[in-house]
């Protein structure tokens, strides 16, 4: 028997108009015996039509989507739309308030927790609600990410390649319409522990993307996130005016695990490249320095294939095994 979510809300997803309220996740702890975690949610609805589901704050230290969705919540008016827009700007609320990737309550990484569980940890309960309550309502799902505190990224929107070609095709169409400066196709398959993979298992076209990184707010990434949200709504017919003009995007892909480079020791990592650089197999990726033992020579690490550097570790201090860079390839 599949038990049901314990999360409740005063929001009525079927009511016309704009509602901005909270999802209440019961969390009975010493400081609050009948406490709930209040996750903000907004629904704007007008009559029949498709449903768009926009989320951010899946990881708490990724900010462009949080701000873009907050702005959209305040600006969108029910009168001007047809259909429904569900928006959650701070999905893993405890992490968003702490500015951390994982939940400070249970250490959970929400984007490794799908499809979740109604009786699991706080993070698993959030995943379960999205998966069991929201995905079934949605026609398009876009979960906005960035590199978070630990990774700097060349900003892009993305889609994953899942097992269902029809779902893949709808996702790719949405990605091309969104038309970020860079669009990335993750070839390694849609891991169902991630929100897009979970949505695609439910048949929902799903996008992601890294709109910045380093724990900062990327103003360019925010700008095209906001623009892209409007393009989504026009593309779906929720906002009037018809599908947006096509716009070019640089299409890239991450073909395999050899794109990733890991720190060979703990210390201070000095990168040998900048984000956006093209590299060849065997090129120096960077060096780890030992500042507590300066007579010890630094240790070098090299790229394992050709590609474009789209991601680098942001904090200079690293532990052995940290990803320090990854590559992508242009799709011709």
């Amino acid at each position: 028997m599949q038990s049901r979510t314990r999360i409740w809300t005063e929001v009525d997803y079927e009511r016309d108009g704009k509602q901005v309220d909270w999802l209440h996740l019961p969390h009975s702890v010493t400081r609050s015996a009948y406490g709930t975690i209040a996750i903000p949610v907004a629904v704007v609805k007008n009559g029949e039509g498709p449903t768009a589901l926009f989320t951010a704050g899946n990881h708490g230290d990724e900010y462009e989507g949080q701000v873009a969705i907050c702005n959209l919540i305040r600006e969108l008016r029910a009168e001007t739309i047809r259909g429904r827009v569900i928006m959650i700007p701070a999905l893993n609320l405890p992490a968003a308030l702490a500015g951390t990737r994982v939940s400070p309550i249970d250490g959970g990484n929400l984007n490794r927790s799908f499809p979740g569980s109604p009786d699991g940890t706080v993070t698993q309960q959030i995943a379960h609600y999205v998966d069991s309550v929201l995905f079934p309502m949605a026609d398009l799902f876009h979960d906005f990410h960035s590199g978070g505190g630990s990774l700097a990224y060349l900003p892009f929107a993305s889609t994953h390649e899942g097992p269902d070609k029809e779902v893949n095709a709808r996702g790719m169409a949405a990605l091309r319409n969104f038309a970020a400066p860079v669009s990335l196709h993750w070839r390694q398959g849609a891991d169902p522990r991630y929100s897009p993979g979970a949505a695609m298992k439910r048949g929902v076209a799903a996008l992601g993307g890294e709109f910045g990184g380093g724990g900062s707010l990327n103003r360019a990434g925010l700008a095209f996130a906001e623009e892209g949200l409007i393009r989504h709504l026009r593309f779906l017919g929720i906002l009037p005016g018809g599908a947006p003009e096509p716009r070019p995007t640089r299409m890239m892909e991450v073909p395999d695990q050899a794109c990733f480079v890991y720190a060979p020791d703990a210390g201070v990592f000095e990168p040998a490249t900048e984000i956006g650089d093209g590299v060849r197999k065997g090129d120096l990726c960077g060096r780890v320095h030992f500042v507590d033992d300066p007579a010890r020579p630094p240790v070098s690490v090299f790229f394992k294939r050709d590609g474009i550097v789209v991601c680098q570790r942001h904090p200079a201090r690293c532990e052995r095994g940290d990803c320090v860079a990854h590559l992508a390839l242009d799709v011709d």
Copy 2:
């Protein structure tokens, strides 16, 4: 009675040759009753001549100087110099290993702890050693900083304006010789709790500077830190070849407290500018968003004078009272 440092070392500052060893700061705790904190130090000496003192890792999350000094320690050969170079790449070692601004042991901010105390906290003992043992040996002191994890900076070298004009003049000459792309003059007086202010009280020409920020390693900042270290040694006559060619630098200053802007509430800060932008008094500096309460409008904050944005808060999440930006002015 002024008690003496409890820090000991097997390094002999008067011995010719290269020594790379550790300062031992006794730290008797549960995990090690007779423990010491082993702070790396290097001395390269050859005969008589001036003494340069280079430090980094005063704040543990500032990396360009840590790497530049480690590289110099390994590369510098006693045979090629005249005089002495003392180098400490990770001055607040516990903070450097933790990648934090302040010490994980005592919470101490080393750059607010001068002149320190021989019986105080670990951080105060480090300050006291530098102040009472190393400053008296030095002709030039350069402490390499960056914005750390919380601030992004337009990289520059800097000097403070202290009460002694002759010391100020020597500092300004060293700054011009160092010739970073940007040089900054802190007009607010040399606070003696900071390492440069403490050195200047001892009559030592003292430089600082922010060579990057955000908790990352700035490759351009590292490059001119390394170049500048060599320029210092040639300028002092420690390395042969005579004083370096003069080189232009953009000279800036921070005239007053009105240059600084603070967050008006806790939330996600969206900056309205990029580092390097020129702004006018009353221009929007940024907005604080409330992602847990998206119906609440963001709060704006404005610049209080004209200037160039040389510093911005790096992490998007802020608390009320955090510095979110500061300005500098070109010195014509």
Copy 3:
């Protein structure tokens, strides 16, 4: 295959006489490789007869039952009884010693952990022992609670409405015999994650109740808990003298979720009522004040139905989503 509890004890539940000993829950950790958590248990038995199971300290910050059961353990003599009394005054021992609702070891809320698991966390193992070893022995189960550190309560004994009418009837009879000044009937169904719900699934008549709150010890609640324990034993025939004289009790119920009011923001909550007050739908429940930003007006929250205030948040500081009050209704 259902694995068995790993908890062992030198207590023999079938032996006549009084035994006061410990349940040993193996807990292999750094500070004690072969450690056990020693949960106190007492068994008083004399010949054949019914079994009463009394527990407290399910939540560690709820004290009336802990003291009442300790007193009963010391005072009860095997010679005077017929049947068996099993008493555990500090069921979630780590929480009881820490004075916290949830376990300091695993964060577990024991009263959301039934039926537990023999290989789960410490808290889940305790739940599993009670459910699989003790409930099958019991004719009556009474788990003594209070509001804990976060809630102040009008003291009462209570029973839940479960799916089995015969079990419900036995519970209601025990509740009326217990005859607390107030008796409360939870209408929302017996959640099997709670101890009474789990006991009722096993066919055991089960009572609960809130005998005080605020993290303090309520002397009146303690007095009627102690009196009620004796009434239970006489009612079951374990103590001689026959069933106690009937005694009036104010019978109340909590009909629905609209009885509960939640904090609309984080801050200092000023209640508008006292416990015991009667209120109408729309009455002010209280206001949240922002002491870090005193120019910001407080936010009000209102009752959503008529009722009697039986519970209020005890600590003034609250987070958004905390329960700040709940209502009950008099029956007939």
Copy 4:
């Protein structure tokens, strides 16, 4: 040389009108290199006249004064007053936001930290600002306390007996005018580490008082705190209408250390009295129960003199050495 406070504010204490802003205490830490702690302050001024200084949140878990002062800040209008009112509702802001007695930053108890230090810990810097900047402006100082999370109190206003009779007399006059239901005279001398003692050393009439306790908000205590604030302003002539009508108050005193009773062991404390009870020397004060070892008899503790119970420990769990009760005496 006495160094000066590093706390700055945009408030101008000499400007007419109402200003609600923040004191900025520089706090340079990893999460914010140029951070400040923003402590709210309000000044309402109109022309010449006396200055009243009202503070709360000296201990963060004491709430009546925090709310009363916030309300006064919003309600007071400069046009209606003569003189000046300075109000700080959350003096130890980090403790107030955490709901703790002591600062979560440095563990400091602000009310044991006067006269403070401009270069000390955060808590010491707050004390120093109040002592060196605000006390010299004030004619009357009232610091609102309660029992906090650990003590329940019979609410009262209070004054301390200091070495200066004239200052004592002004304090006693203000106490009688404030006219709380109970007024308490601390006979043990004004400890200058406490805010009232420090103010009295500066010649300022100073009141305190415990307006509730247990970490809750006492509605009766709040009501007479609010009333008393208005009575203060009329008494000083800051608000018009002349001195308030005299009103009776029950005057009590705490004559000596024998009034205090301490827990003889760690465990669950069961009090034998209620607040307000009269007791005789040798009466039972309470018992400590050992819920982890229920066969061990509880340990009793007794009153050491006659008196009225005005204070009891609120949380039932105690450690050996905790104050579990204290007495006061009626002054006839």
Copy 5:
């Protein structure tokens, strides 16, 4: 459907030669979004032949095996062997680096976590990898333990008695060949949550043993661990020279739970015996002293059967329920 391990490595278990590299366990957290935990692994292989699997650091505070295996990794040359040796010196790497029994990441006790789970906690993922990837390759498995920080041990090698007689016999033969000064036979059955029990379920002959304890490195234990490793390799024919000369060992067993003694209260435990002593049922095992309450007499605890003391609690401070000693018996 059984999902597969997410741990990857560049080691090829089928390749001839010596490889020393890392297992990468993906661990996506705030400080490293694409981080991995890098667990060292070495494989030495030459042609066909049996496979020996040697592990240590299953508990991080047990050191003899960690050092013995590191030494073997550096010394073993592929040319001299026939078959394969797989060595992991720090299996629960996070615990080994922290010097703790359980993982500092998830609190997991690896030796209670078999067979593990590919999607579980970090510790469960390590167990799953060993169980699902390594055990199927192995002919002999030896996991080196000691008493860790909390227990002092008479050093020995050991085997467990499992349900499969043939596997038991191979284990006993390996134990006799290993020929530690003491060999111990755990009679209570091979718990499959422990690594040897899990290996035996897979049909792998499995040894354990306690080579020291107290959190220290036992030089004698290290010596016979190193010797025993070579004896294993010769016994299996992986190293040339034929099976080693038989050597006497003192064979002991732990027959039942009555061998174990537990602390009767929290305090300072004073043992009445030394490790190696023979005791009789009823002999004093030790006393718990109450140093915070010295008037309270110490509490004594006694042995429950005859035997040899092979294990004692190492730290003097104990909690009620800690194992303070256990016995073994000579097998004649």
Copy 6:
């Protein structure tokens, strides 16, 4: 002005008879606003005569003295003595209850905190009480130590060489009378931050000693501590029977800093010697192994002079700079 201790007690040091009570150190914190730390103290007095002061638990993880003094407290009868014995078995009570060297409250190492301060941290207040209240009463002071959790020791009693020859002579006489199997003379001067150094500044003959180590309870060390306490009392004439028979002791000394060896890197330290071994300058002291990187060769460290190994680091894991061994020399 020297302020006075805030510590109070109901013990009367001038009263005849046996008193076992507590010193109350006021500690006002969130969990107890009027809390005190209750440090046990015992005074046994009969008429006029000398005063012996015995303390243990100065470091909380050192146990022989704690138990020896508790036993003496219970066994000593006032009728049998002449003079006074003051005994504190757990001087740094918070550390003793936590089993840590330093205080869990303030991190203070009591034996680096003399002469302390009446308004300082908890640890400093304890030091100040001993120094200002107890030392002035004492004729002989013995503070019992061991190696604690981090160091294993060859047990001995010891005295320090201070500047006052007469005090030194009395200490040496007491050391010879105490007649431990080994007696050690610290030549480096009596550091007044240590309890013996502080006592000697007050003119009190003062002994120390390491009666065991490793965080365990050394039964042999306990035995001669208990015997020595009686010898002290007979030597002083407090117990009857005259001065004890002289008894041989092995007299050793620690002449200089070259006796100490420090870890050259972080890792697992494998000692090359056992405690009690004689070594020569240049002999191998041990090796640091890198279990996370087993291909990296271990780093060796050597003795810097001849001597006897009297102390070794107990836990195998070390950080660079930890003391791993120290030597002493026989005094012929």
